[in-house]
Symmetry: C2
Subunit: 790 residues, 2 copies
Amino acid sequence: MKQMNYNKGTGKCLNWIISEEHFLPKFQGKCETIFCLGNGYMGLRSATEESYVGQVRNCFIAGTFNKSADNEVTELPNAADMIGLDIIIDGDRFSLERGTFSNYDRSLNLKTGELIRTFNWKNSDGKEFQFTFKRFVSLAERHTLVCHFQIKPINCQADIIVKSGINGQVSNSGAQHFEEGEKRVFDKEYIQMTQLTNQSRISFIHTSHHKISNNYSELNPRFELDRRKILTVFEAKLDDGQAFELTKVSNLFTSQDNDISSVNANDIQKFALEQLKIQSKKGYNQLLEENILAWEERWNFMDIKIESDNDFNQLAIRFAQYHLFIMTPKHDNRFGIGAKGLSGEGYKGHSFWDTEIFILPFFTYTFPEIAKSLLIYRHYILKSARMKAKENGYAGAMYPWESALSEDGEVTPVWGAIDIITGKATKIWSGFIEQHITADVAFAVWQYYMITDDHSFMEDYGYEIILDTGIFWASRLDWDKNSNSYHIKDIIGPDEYKEHINNDAFTNYMAKWCMENCLYYAEYLKKEQPEIYQRINEKIEIENYLATIKEKSGKLFLPAPRDEDLVIPQDDTYLNKPTINLSQYKSQKHVGSIFRDFNLDQINGMQVSKQASVVMLMYLLEHKFSHDIKEANFKYYEPKTLHDSSLSLSTHAIIAADINHLDLSYSLFQRAANIDLGPNMSTSDHGIHAASLGGIWQIIVNGYAGIRMVGGKLRISPNMPPEIKTLSFSINWKSSVLKIELDHQKIILSNLGEDNVQLDLMGTDVSLQKEIVHEYHYALSKTTIVEQNS
Amino acid sequence: MKQMNYNKGTGKCLNWIISEEHFLPKFQGKCETIFCLGNGYMGLRSATEESYVGQVRNCFIAGTFNKSADNEVTELPNAADMIGLDIIIDGDRFSLERGTFSNYDRSLNLKTGELIRTFNWKNSDGKEFQFTFKRFVSLAERHTLVCHFQIKPINCQADIIVKSGINGQVSNSGAQHFEEGEKRVFDKEYIQMTQLTNQSRISFIHTSHHKISNNYSELNPRFELDRRKILTVFEAKLDDGQAFELTKVSNLFTSQDNDISSVNANDIQKFALEQLKIQSKKGYNQLLEENILAWEERWNFMDIKIESDNDFNQLAIRFAQYHLFIMTPKHDNRFGIGAKGLSGEGYKGHSFWDTEIFILPFFTYTFPEIAKSLLIYRHYILKSARMKAKENGYAGAMYPWESALSEDGEVTPVWGAIDIITGKATKIWSGFIEQHITADVAFAVWQYYMITDDHSFMEDYGYEIILDTGIFWASRLDWDKNSNSYHIKDIIGPDEYKEHINNDAFTNYMAKWCMENCLYYAEYLKKEQPEIYQRINEKIEIENYLATIKEKSGKLFLPAPRDEDLVIPQDDTYLNKPTINLSQYKSQKHVGSIFRDFNLDQINGMQVSKQASVVMLMYLLEHKFSHDIKEANFKYYEPKTLHDSSLSLSTHAIIAADINHLDLSYSLFQRAANIDLGPNMSTSDHGIHAASLGGIWQIIVNGYAGIRMVGGKLRISPNMPPEIKTLSFSINWKSSVLKIELDHQKIILSNLGEDNVQLDLMGTDVSLQKEIVHEYHYALSKTTIVEQNS
């Protein structure tokens, strides 16, 4: 049975629409996630209006973290549901699991963020009805959520009861974050419910308005109250052919919002009601129009056009960008991006290195203002990072492995899945010893700076992060007498199947890079911007640490490529561990299948990796490694990597392209694109794979189009698999906007800005004034700059 | 479609079985409630194993009250589910809403407390399976819960996954009471999950064991962990005709239990595991046998045999007794009975006057030890009652309208349903001004004493309640200059449609009775048991209050029957209020329909009553009112009473019988019996109607058999409607057990005890030595005592 269709739209909608063509409850989790709506403030998982077993109704507001109990870590609380409808027809609750349905279609238009579901349904008495549900979360007005429901009897009449409202009887898998608050009806039209998070004391104010149009507009609703629930109830006798249409406009405000003037719940209640009165008068179509205009503005810049032998590729990149855009709290720099965006309870809304290493490049090249906001968040949580360093006996800023708000510190849960051997829950060590995040953040700051030239960001935020993380790394090193060098002991690198290891290659190289970068900018500031240096020094006493950082970074042990095969040891012991036949796990249907046979202790003892680690290192610090080293390490490590993290495939796809393994690269790209969009029904149950979506963008832009910032300089060097025919998109580079169009014969670069752009174009330094058309023949590696019109 | 069958059993099971003969999701709430299992310690709502939308999975442990948040009232927390099964067949979750089923039957055997569900089911591929589910909560070992699941493929093979375990992702309609605790697997067989209530700090320890029998016994399970959830997972390939059988034995302990020696969670975890190892070895059948023996012991005494023109009557009384028995925490006198027993979230497990006035007589006459435990509970919460009196500026003991534990005080919620006029939630005044509960408790103590002669109870508990409530009532009166008498102002009587009234007849009469009873026993104790008097006086200083009580009780205003029509004014203003045509509300399908048209303020202003009030008064203090007054008031008030409380019908049925309106009485009895058992599908969604079940017992025993304690003396005066042919049952009376057998021609009374029993038999004082056979002709009111064998 064909469940999904990726090429449904035609004309203006071509390759913009993802559709579900048949309803099967077991695909609920996936569809709730991939059809998720949002605007970065609000994330609304796309549960169906009517209820089904196993459904997860989630609505998250970015940054509203709360600890439901002392022994829980803080997480994004699941706000009251404003989507659900109880539809009772002739006394029976409507459900697609009963009766029969036809012409089913649920489609998300990525261009507009509108979700539409239509079908015909016959109940067990043979009465037939035409259903249409529509909804969107407004990008024009971020508090607003608009729904439309229509039912039309076909050659029959029926009694209908529709219950719709605000339902706070939801939780985060049983954890309840809210204390129940006031429930009100205003003007016999508007309903409002307030809830308060039990620890962080954030008020959530939900307000809804229902309007019946056309045929049944004289109906008066009644109102039902229950615990944490207020409903508007309509009862009608439906006439043959007479559609019953219900428009519901809702808004959601919290006392943490930065666009309201009061934190007092009563003030916000009044304000929300006033706003809703204005919004609800506009009606569905006008509100949708405003939303579409807001989306157009974004797509006009960020759209990437792909011609390839499979339209799925075009949709996959748009899908990635749509989700990256709706998950990102661009409105408020106090908050980061959750590892599942705002689309599910997975990872509790916490930010990981996923943001800086996987997602940020999309924003840095496309919407640098948003990238800046995300990096200011990392400045904002320096408080957490310093707290963590201190608690662990280190200096400087040690970023939490998982982070929430500035005051939260490390928020990684301590206990995970059950250990099949001991019968106890497994301890999650990442929050204690997975520390490369502190290098990743500093790297992202520097990358952002190199691409944008945003000096004021660096002065206000960036330098402080670079210097304070440098201080941390120097404090983190241990002197090793035997080797006469500094080591980093007891660590987890990106490959989380290796715990408590020493000298993880990725961590050591990145730590050294961090310290050197810190020293460089310290010297630079001292010389060029002494007042900035002074200001930062007063805060973090960098001056006192410089000598130590210099001494230690010079003596930090870096695992070198082995002479015999150029393989860089992932850590001190990895290469000495036994290998096992991994074929059954490499061909697994579901990630983590190895845990059915081994526990983490046992996996720790074998040459098997969860995800890119040395390969990731060769991507981030690519200028430090030769083509041969990259190839050798890719060939060594990839067969031992199960890609059990969704962060793994994109990096491998890029490096595979770099070393000309284009077939493998394309297949890894396809696998990455299928993590969320693919047919595997349960992969996305807990939410979208945010980092993987960022990785998909990187495969296209940084990988296949070959747009890279290397050592502060732009390099363009495409490596397109033959399946990709053409690429066309724009990026920001410092003060300019560059348009890139390429196929397998030529690259056209257009500079839409004022300033000339210096770049390395496939190994040749060029200065791009207005346009360069560059012809090349990939097989011959022959490149010629054809013309430059100025 | 016929949903329920009330006469399914044959032979030994005749009139013991209630069955659901077709599965319809809309009847879920009703069936979950009426099929509820339990033993007074544990109450397990009978949700089906597989999940459906709208299902309410409840498991309550008596007395484990918790306040989930500061702004909530304390309630019984919904413990983790140990019943649910996810059954996945060929990749699809099993659900009766999909595919087709036949031969459906779900039956609760009231005699054994075993619930069995069987059906055949065909999935959408046409594969057929035979299903059987069985379960019971053990009456022999109150912590133990036993389930059995069997599936057999018929002419097919299939892949099956069964997930079963302990699921704490439940809540009380969204309110979460538990902090998540430890989850463990022991011996790759036993799973255990601990949760802790967030305010009262009670540990709940859930432990389960799964065993596959016969064909698939070599299967090894795997274990899945999620938030608040631990599951045992079996995967099997089912062969044609080979049944897959799973037995699950679970137990549940809390740190509040009075039968374990430690309150430490670790100790209890170990103890629970040891106990489960013993219990699980016994297997389903042996555990069931032990449970059946425990039930037999109870039924041997409490069974009431009814011959009537409708077997439903026999079943209805057994149904009532079954539920009264399983809802009552007979094991622990710190806890009372919830208004919905342990069968649903309604009324939060709180105790009301329902216990003393409606339920207690069943226990007092049948299992006096249990009645005693329930009254000791009222002594135990004197702490709450004194706290409430003090907070309200009164003296003595003022019982909370709703009560939980001794330290909880008044626990009535303050806000209720929405006011259709103001749009705000309605304030619930009962916790403030519905005060007759304090008289009801004292009345029940006295009634228990008169029926049982339990002197030691009175000395240890009863006198103190009688005296301290007397003190309260005196302090509650206001002097009214105009009438030169004491009034009770600003009150709610039993008729809750009248708020803030003065001189509610029921309250005033009962208060006077209370004060007089207090004075009587104070004088009695002073004279006969001065050391008891002294002990109580040291506690409550009764001596200081006696003069005031005497003065005030003598001058308390009692609304007298009007000269013209003998109607007793329900309160100072009721009879002056306008009447409206109530016919549409009297014939309503669902209670409370009047609120669709009026708010409580408006209802307050009309002659319309929710429930028995003056009629109730004439039942409790029957010796104070003549037959004519009873008849006049019944005829006046019943037509104005909507019976919107389930407490109303039984009292009316009894008084109707008393005044010889047997047709009306029988029809009220039928309505009462149908409150839970009847076809109206949503009446019992929030739980069983505990008081109504007690009322059903009273209709039969106190009403139709006419067994009454009047002024301390036994009176037997049957008033059987013609539809009831014979009645046969036993009661305790003081130190004796009496057997009563009656039809419309004769009564046979047997005294199974040692002492002669003095009683009023239809107006004649008799002394029952061994047996009296009393013949009478109802129509002629001719009665003759025929013989007495000694």
